[in-house]
Symmetry: C2
Subunit: 120 residues, 2 copies
């Protein structure tokens, strides 16, 4: 079982249903019943996913009479964004290489396109 907070966050995010629940909560607080509807899942199944998200600190729940509305918590998502940020240079370098290659191809095409005109 993961123990450090970032591992717990990544582990909780490694499920498409849990990511869909977060996407739903990003537009506002809602109840377990409201969350269960679009997923066509049983309430216990949704509750299980919510417990995983809650343990990872990705959602929080409050008491409101009979309801226990859930809301998304931004902190762990910001931690993931900050973690990935240190690797940004890797994919930007890849994009730079692609841009250089495309410029090279374009220059070559232009040179080839010009040559026959000169021979006229």
């Amino acid at each position: 079982m993961p123990t450090d907070p970032l591992s717990a966050t990544f582990s909780a995010l490694a499920d498409p249903t849990r990511r869909a629940i977060l996407a739903r909560l990003a537009s506002g607080e809602c109840s377990v019943t409201e969350l269960a509807e679009p997923f066509e899942m049983s309430l216990p199944a949704v509750s299980k996913h919510l417990r995983v998200l809650e343990r990872a600190g990705l959602i929080a729940r409050r008491r409101d009479a009979q309801r226990r509305p859930c809301r998304i918590e931004a902190g762990p998502l910001e931690d993931v964004a900050n973690w990935t940020e240190r690797y940004r240079h890797l994919w930007e370098a890849r994009l730079d290489r692609l841009a250089t290659y495309l410029r090279h191809v374009k220059t070559k095409e232009r040179t080839h396109a010009r040559k026959p005109q000169r021979r006229k």
Copy 2:
């Protein structure tokens, strides 16, 4: 077991040793033996982590005589960055609220600091 690529990526990242391996590979290709050294881990234990990272597309390995050097692959990390990006407004909104609160506290402090001077 996770099947979609993003779940496989998050699942592979949910381990501090695998994240440390990626951090090491971000500064350049290296062999399994070189990777095992700083972690004081057995070669089979490191190999097991490398297999998880390879299945998630986070690293690639090539043949080079007896060696099989590993390199980091930026694609899945970029996918994680893009995924978190849609939640950026959440923590930025939180920072905005904090800034508003701090401005409010500062204004209040200034008002309180001025009052006794007027009474002199």
